[in-house]
Subunit: 328 residues, 2 copies
């Protein structure tokens, strides 16, 4: 990993990864269309010689191909992550997730780049049967997709694997994320809840009935996990040259637990209003809990618990209220 | 099912389905871009009042939407089925299978069409672990895709399921086909072998080592299965409004067995030349054997064995050598 191409460079995870790569002495080309990315997240990177920022969209294959020239690894993190509102713009998931991933792979082919890591999602499991004792493993039953987002990420995973099997790439890493938390977090329930509590500290509206259970992972832990296995080349000799890892902590929290952590940290006691039902939105999965034994067996361990991740996220949001004014 | 929209209308399976629907008194709008479809397959249908043919491509959403007006069911059979040569034109699977399926679903949404059947493939299982005693069930392990074709069909399946879960459609039927045989067959190993034997009856070149084992199904059995479950509305009350069925016979044959059937039927003894390896092409799965217990439990049964299907196919090819001159 000498020169890395990062899509979604100005995003939450992309910009954090870039800071880490630069600190490790790796050159980085950052690529972002700034549809949701934040210039300010790249302030540290932009001062450094080893960093180049290119503004562009994944649907523009010629520009993407040109920008990727000379790179030897791709972190493909750019995506439409607006799961909840998928039905307001169904084409967005197709374009920004499925077609975008195809273009990234074609740009790699044109440039002879042979290694890629892809941020997928636990949503690809649809509504997997899961219990607190039996989280979802990577080899779970062939799922039925329940959201456009999940379907588009499944499509992206399939493309990576097909390119690897077809010897177009040598190493394909697919990371199925739980929700990621931490500094630069700009999207998700902690973001939404804190926003509400700024506006009306005595009242919190909750999608669903608060019993939804989800896994979360701290962004630095997420990045450490991805770098850990990609640097060990675990996909090189894997079957089909493809490695799939669930990324999360070996725990989950209820939305209600999460609300309790948030309120304790902010010292607030809002009245809770539930919209009802056991789902936050159409296609929401009321229980996402990924089995992370595979990634842990490689020697990686998360450093923060979900509760600690929530607290860090809140501290950062408190210090960076500007993100609520920024375009998302 | 009063007025049915069929994509891939001039194809092998599409045209055969249309003849069957018309015979059953159902009105049909046939849609085809004639990239591989054959005018002659629609000769019988075109004389009938209940049939309308519209020439168009699935990438042209406005035209597709206009053509679908007034229909109440969609059989989405159009696809790029050229699996072997996927790497010569990687965009074809993305466009003609994934994006095309998205457009079909969007056209349905615009027209309020609520039921769809989709021809998927056993290739979505990638290289599933399978033994003669344990064929691949619909709920097999989450597969790793091994071809662009399989990846694009998996993407299509995911879209159907997401639309069903999102209440955009009421019934989604996904049929994972083995290879289909029978009258109007214009693509596959029997087609290729017979072509070779016309040109040089004493010599047959075989991709791989001849030990590849595959399932096959006779086209009329395939159509009967699809009509059987869609007419019974099995997806209406299914979880996620989605029903997935493997379609095949409860048997498989080796390529070598198939060659023996072909040579016996033609009374030929060609010298066999094997290209070697246990795969016919990159991403080929050396053993495809689908578990068909689910579709059989609905009361459907195949009428023909694989051997009988091969014989019918050959008889048709012998009587219709013009297909070898036609554009595919």
């Amino acid at each position: 990993m000498k020169k890395v191409f990062v899509t979604g460079a100005a995003g939450f995870i992309g910009s954090t990864l870039i800071d880490r790569l630069l600190a490790d002495g790796v050159s980085v080309v950052g690529w972002d269309n700034f549809s949701t990315g934040q210039e300010r997240f790249l302030e540290g990177a932009r001062g450094q010689q080893a960093f180049t920022l290119v503004r562009g969209d994944n649907l523009d294959l010629p520009a993407l191909t040109a920008a990727m020239r000379g790179c030897d690894f791709v972190f493909h993190l750019a995506a439409n992550a607006d799961i909840k509102d998928g039905w307001q713009h169904p084409k967005k998931d197709l374009e920004q997730n499925t077609i975008a991933t195809f273009n990234v792979l074609e740009a790699m082919r044109a440039n002879g780049v042979k290694r890629i890591a892809f941020s997928s999602t636990g949503s690809v499991y649809g509504e997997a049967l899961v219990t607190p004792e039996k989280p979802t493993p990577e080899t779970d039953d062939f799922p039925i997709q329940t959201s456009l987002y999940g379907a588009s990420k499944t499509a992206g995973e399939g493309l990576l694997a097909a390119y690897a099997e077809g010897s177009q790439i040598d190493e394909a890493y697919i990371f199925r994320f739980v929700s990621i938390l931490g500094e630069r977090y700009t999207h998700g329930h902690v973001f939404d809840f804190y926003k509400q509590l700024i506006e009306h500290p005595d009242h919190l509206r909750v999608l669903g009935d608060g019993t939804q259970r989800k896994g979360y992972l701290y962004v630095q832990d997420c990045i450490a996990a991805m770098l850990h296995v990609t640097r060990a080349h675990t996909a090189r000799d894997a079957k089909h040259h493809t490695q799939i890892y669930n990324l999360g902590t070996p725990e989950f929290v209820q939305v209600n637990d999460s609300i309790a952590h948030i309120c304790a940290a902010l010292n607030l006691k809002p009245r809770l209003e539930y919209t009802g039902g056991n789902r936050g939105w159409i296609g929401d999965n009321p229980f996402i809990f990924l089995d992370t034994k595979k990634i842990q067996s490689t020697g990686w361990k998360p450093q923060l618990t979900i509760k600690q991740g929530i607290e860090r996220t809140l501290r950062w949001l408190q210090a960076n209220r500007w993100v609520y004014e920024a375009r998302h």
